[in-house]
Amino acid sequence: MKNNRRDFLKNMLLTSGGLVIGFNSLGNSAAEIISMENVKDELLSNAFLTIDSNNLITIFSPNPEIGQGIKTAFAVIVAEELDVDWEKVVVKQADLDIKRFERQLTGGSGAIKHSWERLRKAGATGRYALVAAASKKWNVSATTLKTDKGFVINEKGEKISYGELVNDAVSVEIPKEIPLKSNKEFKLIGQTIKSVDNKTVLTGKAKYGMDYKQPGMLYAQIVRPQGFGQTLKDFDATEAKKIDGVIDVISFKDKVAIIGKSNWPIMKARKVLTINWTNTKELESDTKHNQIFTDMMKNGPFEVRRKDGDIEKAFAEAHKIIEAEYQCPFLSHSPMEPMNFFADVKKDSAKLVGPTQTPQSAQNQVAKLLNIPVENITVELTKMGGGFGRRLNNDYALEAAEVSSLIKAPVKLMWTREDDMSGGIYRPAVRYKFKASIDKAGNVTGFALKGVGLNAGNSTRQDNFPVGAIENVLIESADYKSDITTGPWRAPITNFLAYAEQAFIDEIAFAAGKDPVKLRLELLKKAIEKPVGKITYEPLRFEKVITTVAERAKWGSAKKGLHQGFSVYFSHNSYVAQIAEVEMKKGKPTLKKVFAVTDCGIVINQSGARNQIYGAIVDGLGHAMYGNLNFENGAPKQTNFDQYRLIRFNEVPEIDAHFIDNGIDPTGLGEPALPPTGGALANAIFKATGKRLYKQPFAQEDEKVAEIL
């Protein structure tokens, strides 16, 4: 019997445990071939790429893209090691496939750090096989061959395209250790590369979750309890059902779902739907939250997160004690695309399509909710109109699946902006009380932090700077179980903790008569020479971003009339130092510029990286200034952008974004530039106006700074 290629592949799958190109060193998940159905003749492939004999090179980006640029960055890394012509590569978003990929989620700015080596090996393995095939073809040693832009080139300068080599490359045996490029050999990594989705986004063709349709699909919207802590009593849908285009009104789990042929009839039906809610307990409000905070800050119960030395002794022997309390409200994530999801649930299977940062979790949760075998649930990833952490929680995907299973039809669930803003999963409201002691020489001898949060979990980061640089430390947190639901919000906890802490360190510096930058450098010297206990940061990298931003912004010698505020923070494995410049004009402060120096190791894509710095600073400024949700009767008062103010075009300062070039393996960039922003702004405001800001949003805390942006 003639052995054809498909038999060869089948045999190889049987004998190698599913490996077409060997990825033994990567473990199974990165190694397995996509599936037998997808193995076309003359296709060289692994989890992240395929090359066909017509030289079509496709790179699969598995992680959910929420605007952080991961789809492009991942593909750049694979393309770099594969050594292909970037302009000719097709980059595709891969759907959820737990056999093929691992950590297929977007959260914690962790994707690049996690996948850096995997992606490089995926590309390098392909390149190895192609070079080996060419070496056999030309009968020369592989070491004499080079690759460039999708060609293998020999010493005579003869070229052969990857596509022409695919048929032979597929049978090349792959060694365990695949050589990777040295940083100096990078052609793509570190360049300015445009997003691979520009073409479809800029012509309106890109399909976001909200744009997904399939034949026979119905639309749904859900009315949820008005306030957190309410339950559904009853409803009357008589009038709602009369509206042309409304198909049905059903209820489940204290929710009322309206099913229709399109969104507008449903929106009209919502206005005439009568629903009665029951208050099963006291509904929460700002007043109640204030009482809880005051009580818990005083009485706890606190959980000790870290203790170094003897804090009481440090305070007793102090030359000076500095104390301050900081407050922040609940915040909505407000991605531009409100929550939505498509579900087509059958008896024993389900098809899910939509925007989620955690597709595997959506799959597992739907399996559990509807008792469907997990392997019978597919999750297709669409483009997403932002995430900021909101789409880590799949509540809306579960709702879509539940509605589909109840009405036995494919359905697209959409949340309105009002649903989105009043639907919970907020950034938790938190308060911090800091206390520090300094000796006569101005050294920081003690540092204590109490964090109290409403559904915040551990509201501290007990192993982060300045911990490790101070002998006596006590970090404690207390958490109140609120009815108001919360979730991670871009740079969870640190999005506010960093401001409070950096503003407080500024206060310490002034109390100690020290320059705020010099104080940080002194503390870091201590962390370098004799760290106290466990630390999670690398003090030398910290030091470098601080000295670099100070140089770039001419710290200490700014032009007359310019007031600078400094801040630095380590989060998600990256370091960002910032200096904000405020100008006083006719007694009014204006934010002119923010300098940011970032150490995220190797920058994969200059364009995408800069976008993240600009975006995170703009985000940090806007929410520090305006972000606010006030509660009454268990519900937020702000339900749309007319009351919930987001930063706009005319409010952004100039931004100077600089990266430390140190060749260290890359870390995340979606979040780390946000945390230091509020602190830099608050400290610059203090320099300009002499006033410390202890409460966000700043625009409401002090009307003199309301128009600083």
């Binding site: 952080q68 012509t203 969104n263 009209k268 902006r417 600009y614 985000d619 007319d642 931004i655």
Partner: protein, 154 residues
């Protein structure tokens, strides 16, 4: 429900919707022109911006009946091949992050540059501040409007 004849991106199209239906939902749900986005439903964010007789208009608060007999342009019809100066500038400067708000942003920028081929900083700011970009792409939007103005002259 009533039948309306609309002129969208140079084509005559018939739709059967109720008279109070905002154009946004006619475009998205009825005609499958999903490049125009829903963001707030109350003319705050600008994601739904289209042109009606060349004027930038919030389709989320514009009933279908107001567009009868007028020329509607959506992002899909801004150019035939995605090569409107605004689209080229947005690509060259790699403006989008999540991209969801950008079709609305570009429709406003295109209308501005048609009306005023040489906008100054103030005029660009006035026009573009009517939009929200949650990713914070404002710096690049600013540069892109200026680049588009240059490209338009060529």
């Amino acid at each position: 429900m009533s039948e309306y004849s609309l002129s969208i991106n140079g084509k005559k199209l018939k739709v059967d919707v109720s008279e109070d239906t905002p154009l946004l939902w006619v475009l998205r749900d009825t005609l499958d022109l999903t490049g125009t986005k829903y963001g707030c439903g109350m003319a705050q964010c600008g994601a739904c911006t289209i042109h009606i007789d060349g004027m930038p208009t919030r389709s989320c608060v514009t009933p279908v009946t107001l567009a009868i007999g007028k020329e509607i342009t959506t992002i899909e019809g801004l150019s035939e091949n995605g090569d409107h100066p605004v689209q080229k500038a947005w690509d060259t400067l790699d403006v989008p992050q999540c991209g969801f708000c950008q079709s609305g942003q570009m429709m406003t920028a295109a209308a501005l540059l048609k009306e005023n081929p040489n906008p100054d900083e103030e005029e660009i700011s006035m026009a573009m501040s009517a939009h929200i970009c949650r990713c914070g792409t404002y710096h690049r939007i600013n540069e892109a409007v200026k680049l588009a103005a240059k490209l338009q002259k060529r």
